[in-house]
């Protein structure tokens, strides 16, 4: 019966003690694991969002500048949020400018977005359960705002909501670059079924100037989740119809102008050079936002989660070390007598400590297994809690962000010119566009889902940590005993 066998015999014969130690160790490890999981997940999310953003440069209206100009001329006397009051026309990017930039070197692809707000004419909009909440600033627009928002883009396939499967095609097809200069749209399933609209049908909408337009339904999509938490109160997602950006611009009365273009570069190292050349083409009312800047925005919240998580790891770690070390020391000291007998039999000191090691490491391995189960559970719920808090606090930040639009445009190709009336833009476009930003950001940053799975690496990391604690505690407990003369251990009681 060597020391390893003695160790397992001890664990079995002192099963009550063993289980108690497993319980304590599991509790400590679970907390530490939860912290590590969140920390790792946050780091992964940071990296993912970097990937999702890719090397893109976004061309959009310089909101700050526009805002200043409007403030100067506006005669607002109310304290209500200015966003809805001022009619900021953001669709000021000329298609020619957009295309000129697109023809610069190193542009792999680009996605153009524009938006408009219209009123349903031949059908009725889906009544949102939030319609009376007056929560979102989109509602403040009052009667002149449309009940349907038109989201114009180069291609739905490249849109983040479709890419993330938040929206999925149910019937027909999505919007592609070949839909430029057509009246083709896709509508949401609920809107379609409420109004008995099918693929191939024509629907009528009224634009801001009360002109009736015929739109051809080429596809029906389903908004699976109302992922758009940030702006969720503003509008039922069912009331969004997607079209080519040309249609959206013309419905908004901004024919030939779009609100935002995202350029994907072939090479991230060329970003600076690209921005430099592009800046020569654009006017002061426009701005270029690089993916680095977007990345900063996206990751700031995740980074704060990470810092909370690492604090958890440290606090629990330190407290855990203290508690565990103390318990282990006490348990070893309780075994003074037993150690003395082993010494009197001439057992090597290394093997005496070895036995205690084997025991505690077995307990550690068992606890790690339990912690793996509980830790992923806690990590998940704590992680979700943190995300929802962060999202709330980030809302204002995102609202003020006038930068990037759609996701990664894989669709290249110039889209047609928008032709249409030169009516003043619909002020709802602003809200519509903001929603689009919000959707894009949440989609890209993956803040909604931190992948809080336990991986082997995390468990090993924790195991190594536990090993160090166990080693220190065992040595601290055992060394004072084994350095005594056996007589003192055995006879002076």
């Amino acid at each position: 019966m060597d020391y390893v066998k003695r160790a397992f015999l001890y664990l079995r014969r002192r099963i009550g003690k063993t289980l108690l130690l497993v319980l304590v160790m599991t509790a400590i490890l679970t907390f530490m694991l939860a912290g590590l999981i969140i920390q790792n997940a946050a780091l992964t999310a940071v990296n993912n969002s970097k990937n999702a953003v890719g090397t893109t440069v976004t061309l959009s209206a310089n909101r700050a500048k526009l805002f200043q100009q409007n403030q100067g001329s506006a005669s607002s006397s109310t304290q209500t949020p200015p966003v809805g009051r001022f009619r900021i026309n953001e669709a000021i990017i000329g298609l020619n400018t957009a295309k000129k930039i697109a023809s610069l070197e190193n542009v792999a692809a680009y996605q153009i977005t524009a938006s408009a707000s219209v009123n349903a004419s031949s059908f009725t909009a889906v009544l949102s359960s939030n319609s009376n909440s007056n929560g979102g600033f989109g509602r403040m627009q009052g009667t002149d705002s449309g009940d349907i928002s038109v989201s114009g883009l180069s291609s739905t396939a490249a849109n983040s909501n479709f890419k993330n499967k938040n929206y999925v095609m149910k019937k027909g097809r999505g919007i592609t670059s070949s839909d430029a200069n057509t009246n083709n749209v896709i509508i949401e399933e609920v809107l379609a079924s409420n109004n008995h609209i099918n693929v191939g049908d024509t629907i009528k909408v009224k634009d801001s100037s009360s002109n009736v337009k015929n739109l051809k339904v080429v596809g029906i999509y389903q908004a699976k989740t109302s992922t758009d938490q940030t702006f969720g109160q503003m509008q039922d997602p069912s009331n969004t119809i997607f079209s080519s950006y040309t249609l959206a611009s013309s419905l908004a009365g901004d024919a030939g102008k779009v609100s935002n273009v995202v350029y994907t570069l072939t090479d991230s190292s060329k970003e600076k050079a690209f921005v430099k050349s592009a800046k020569k083409i654009i006017s002061g009312n426009l701005q270029l936002t690089t993916s680095d800047q977007i990345y900063e925005m996206l990751t700031s919240s995740v980074k704060s989660i990470e810092s909370i998580a690492s604090k958890i790891v440290w606090i629990v770690g330190i407290a855990g070390i203290a508690i565990l070390t103390l318990i282990l020391i006490l348990m070893v000291r309780e075994r003074r007598h037993e150690i003395g007998i082993l010494m009197s039999l001439g057992e090597e000191k290394a093997k005496i400590i070895g036995q205690i090691f084997v025991e505690t490491i077995s307990v550690l391995v068992l606890s790690l297994c339990f912690a793996g189960v509980f830790g992923s559970f806690f990590g998940n719920s704590v992680g979700q809690q943190l995300i929802s808090q962060q999202n709330t606090s980030q809302q204002s930040l995102r609202s003020g962000f006038g930068g990037p639009g759609g996701g990664n445009p894989n669709q290249a190709g110039p889209n047609g010119n928008a032709t249409g009336s030169g009516n003043p833009s619909n002020s709802r476009a602003f809200g519509g566009q903001m929603r689009q930003f919000g959707t894009t950001l949440t989609g890209n940053s993956q803040l909604n889902k931190l992948s809080t799975h336990v991986n082997i690496g995390t468990l090993l990391e924790l195991g190594a940590f536990g090993l160090v604690i166990v080693a220190i505690a065992t040595l601290l407990g055992a060394i004072p005993i084994i350095s005594l003369k056996p007589k003192r251990i055995l006879i002076s009681e």
């Binding site: 019966m1 014969r13 009197s344 001439g346 000191k349 003369k485 007589k487 006879i491």
Partner: protein
């Protein structure tokens, strides 16, 4: 194969309060020694030096002419000496059999791993059948003492040191246990040194060593002394 003590002096606090001074003794194999003396005279302290469990203030203890500190106290305890304590000192999470088996393994005995040998040895001291596989904490005091003795006898160590091994036993058991020690000395040719308060036990020994007034005196039992085999020597 002789255990010798040369000029052993020991005190705990002050040199004037010494337990013994310049003691020299010799212990031979195949002999049962009994150490008697008043409580507090220093018997346990003395045998703990012999067993390598502690070291005296000064003096030399050697086995086969070699200083036991040179042998290494751990190795000495492992190979040369085994101890039976007054308070059994068994591994309390083990059965009687496991106690013996683990001691065989720790001391790398030639019987290591031989379960039947351990069972037989336990049986020879009266721990038979179910008793051998019961947790030692469920055994009586006398039974635990027998297990401790079986453990000491099972290992290969040629020196057996016992501190009042019969202290908690009734007359019948005391007699039986002492007879076992006699057998170990005479049949297994081991050096057996035991402390006792019991005159009858002391009388069963080959040599009686008395510790009185900080002095050791040796008294060979008359019927066991022969000229060709002097059982004990007090070197002075």
């Amino acid at each position: 194969m002789t255990l010798t003590v040369q000029k052993l002096t020991h005190y705990f606090n002050h040199p004037d309060d010494y337990l013994y001074k310049n003691v020299s003794l010799k212990f031979d194999p195949a002999t049962l020694y009994a150490i008697v003396g008043e409580s507090g005279s220093g018997k346990t302290t003395f045998v703990s030096f012999l067993a390598g469990l502690d070291s005296p203030v000064s003096g030399l203890i050697s086995y086969n002419g070699k200083d036991i500190r040179k042998i290494g106290l751990t190795k000495y305890r492992n190979q040369d000496v085994t101890v039976v304590f007054q308070a059994y000192n068994l591994m309390n999470y083990m059965t009687a059999l496991e106690n013996v088996v683990s001691a065989l393994s720790i001391t790398k005995s030639k019987h290591a791993g031989n379960r039947q040998y351990a069972i037989d040895l336990l049986a020879s001291v009266g721990i038979e059948g179910e008793l051998a596989t019961k947790n030692v904490q469920k055994l009586s005091g006398g039974q635990q003492q027998r297990v401790a003795i079986a453990r000491a006898l099972a290992v290969d160590a040629p020196i057996v040191v016992a501190d009042e091994p019969t202290g908690n036993l009734d007359e019948q058991n005391t007699k039986e246990i002492t007879e076992i020690f006699q057998r170990v000395a005479h049949q297994s040719k081991k050096t057996v040194i035991m402390i006792t308060h019991d005159q009858k036990v002391a009388d069963m020994a080959d040599v009686k060593i008395m510790l009185e007034n900080r002095q050791f005196t040796v008294k060979n039992s008359p019927d066991k002394v022969s000229d060709d085999k002097p059982p004990a020597v007090l070197i002075n």
